[in-house]
Symmetry: C2
Subunit: 510 residues, 2 copies
Amino acid sequence: MAENRRKTAITPTREDDYAEWYQQVVRQGDLAETSPVRGCMVIRPWGYALWENIRDRLDAMFKETGHRNAYFPLFIPKSYLEKEAEHVEGFAKECAVVTHHRLEASPEGGLQPAGELEEPLVVRPTSETIIGATYARWVQSYRDLPILINQWANVVRWELRTRLFLRTAEFLWQEGHTVHETEAEAWEETVRMLNVYQTFAESFMAMPVIAGEKTAGERFPGAVRTLCIESMMQDRKALQAGTSHFLGQNFARSSGITYQSREGREEFAWTTSWGVSTRLIGGLIMTHADDDGMVMPPRLAPAHAVLLPIIRRDSDRERIMAYVHKVAAALRQERFDGAPVRVEIDDREVNAGEKGWEWVRRGVPLRVEIGPRDMEKDAVFVARRDRGPKEKTSLPWKQFVQNVGSELEDIQSSLFERALDRRERHTREVDTFSQLESFFTPVDGARPGIHGGFARAHWCGREECEKRINDELSVTIRSVPLEEEGFTEPGKCICCGNESRTRVVMAKSY
Amino acid sequence: MAENRRKTAITPTREDDYAEWYQQVVRQGDLAETSPVRGCMVIRPWGYALWENIRDRLDAMFKETGHRNAYFPLFIPKSYLEKEAEHVEGFAKECAVVTHHRLEASPEGGLQPAGELEEPLVVRPTSETIIGATYARWVQSYRDLPILINQWANVVRWELRTRLFLRTAEFLWQEGHTVHETEAEAWEETVRMLNVYQTFAESFMAMPVIAGEKTAGERFPGAVRTLCIESMMQDRKALQAGTSHFLGQNFARSSGITYQSREGREEFAWTTSWGVSTRLIGGLIMTHADDDGMVMPPRLAPAHAVLLPIIRRDSDRERIMAYVHKVAAALRQERFDGAPVRVEIDDREVNAGEKGWEWVRRGVPLRVEIGPRDMEKDAVFVARRDRGPKEKTSLPWKQFVQNVGSELEDIQSSLFERALDRRERHTREVDTFSQLESFFTPVDGARPGIHGGFARAHWCGREECEKRINDELSVTIRSVPLEEEGFTEPGKCICCGNESRTRVVMAKSY
């Protein structure tokens, strides 16, 4: 089969080796690379510009919902982490521990750690405990509530098997931490932020998600309830893309966040936390990228269009560059998504074909080639990244400029539709355990490792049945629709036949 | 004396105890506070919003000068730090060392560090070595140069004596790291970024600075030359507010950043690094704050104006709030510094006087009180933070709105002028060592700890004379004017009488 395929910009293809394809898209799309520090990545400028766009958009949404940013310490004293039993249990196995505060000459030469700390410090894997200690000081009365704060920060979880963006020892994220007077308000906040994540994922990332709740076994350590958004990747596995935790009074109790109520009683407050991370970039890649590399949704793309002057003779240079700059200036007058269109001009003296492929791999939504013949016709030669790399259209430049906003809108919505369609094609209602088994079993001729998808099946809610699904099929329950939101569809558990309130989503996952 | 002074919002005053006044301005201005982690601070939302404005403005200036952001690992393997001898010498004594990657149950109960790392990791105190390792992979040929990258990050230096913003174990900063083909280009970049810092400090922070060079003894560990901006605080000490380092080929050599030159030879590249940090906020406070608390320069203030409804009877509430919202909406239509005026409405049900003083301490440029009588007159009652707290003016609201932009401009320039005037009053040309000594010696009746200022004096350039000034007077050479920029003013060294090219700035410092 392979010999009939066209040459792709990324080797291997998704079909040949999905995991390696992913790494190559990240590398060759100039998004990130591994570093000399185990599990830590270097986010390259093009990838970081994408993260800046993600951050700025989310930040605006957080501010619109009444949150403000603050910054808390990188380090957590060991004793703080120990205050919440489930929490420390969840993070103790994979944390970076600072034990010394200087290096000094070693008798064997070189330097060795010295100045041992009285109490080891953990590099934050998440900040509930250290932020809780501060909130305990801030909160005295119901008048001090709610506290609605977010932090943009780096965190460290010492993962043994890492993958760029998806699972790295250090990653960038935001963590919201809020405190409320009542259970109802805290729950409302938990759901509100889940909705913010869903809106962001679908409207900006063009990544359809399923919003729901985690089972008890998949909850954040210390949470009473964990809500999440789950998305189907191109290998049909689920990616958890964001979580919003209702923490009840657990962390208020362990951190001592109490307030004097309206009735004058001392009460524990109710808290929430919610976060998304650079993992979103992994989700973006596995939702949209293809065998030619990254595909950026326009609303987050660092550049919307790249102009590629094609200069075959030096004597043409000046005239072509003037034309290119004229088109760029006109494009920058146009608006998309409430801001000027972002344009780059790539006039490096590199082979034009090579240069074009670089931008294909980087996933810029529109590539605009401009050579002497285009110029003579007052035209530009345009390729959309969401279509085949050879599919290019010659257009009068003014028409291209005039329509650039709607073209970008169209790319944005096409990407979403394509991803949604893929998810729908690979989502199936499954009514028995053996159907579930065969859904996740590759049949002859199927691509290795690519099978199954999202199974919508009934589950009674018991750990026992969940465990059977995990153990026998390496499949997990990804998302339980929220009863509070009216999701009810009674049936029988596919494992034990007991009553089930609703179908849940089961899938293999990252 | 104290009994005749008006009551100030901050106790103690600058005159009574400058160091404690500073801490109180930070705390009571809602800027930051200490945390349970030694030396690490919590940056509160109002302080963090100020940092966001600083960051966004600088970021725009970096991008205008051709730089892009990226992100590199938090951890540096010990062996990387060891590669540059002076560099490790400079940072080994104060670094957080990660030695383990998990916590496990200890026989004595509780948890203990486990999973010892083969090689300890240092939490970055600065990133030359880890970024250099990446650049060594990126750079092959002169065509790959220049590399112009900046990183926004947290860094850790294990300081024993810490002070909020000025010197903390963890702080936020940006670090630019660039690679160039030639010495001249790298030097040009070093100077360019110093100029960016000077422009930012003076135009946005309203903080006059002296741009110049550090002496050999005050250089960044590993740098060939260190340029800096120095500012005079209200206690007349100097604060180093930003540095730009010409690293020559030192780090290129230790990290192996080589490139094939235009002539086909393998050459070491030339690098620079430059940074400013949350320390700038300390400088902002000590430049502008007064005995009533913080004073924000309008171009960086999180809010330009706060509207304070004065509601004495519940029956007035609705009408007054409607009026307040009308004024707020009109203000937000006005522009200052290229963007809409930032307005907050504080309608908390708190005593009006108390509320007003809170905003005084936070330093918001304009406080606008609006009560029933103001409303009846179509007026507002306005106070400028840079004037006395009781100095308030009743103005027709439309007139206030119409002039708000120029009022903010005026505050911005007044703050700069006031700071510049203070510096000039406390800068003196000093021509002998004994004059220098008496300049820095408090005379009877002077406030303890507040004396001296910037001494402009001749220095021969020899370490010996510099050391005498340091040792005998606890005064350092803060800034040497750049010969390249044409600063020459020949004279005789105040210590030894040898030839001196120019006067340098000597001061006590933070």
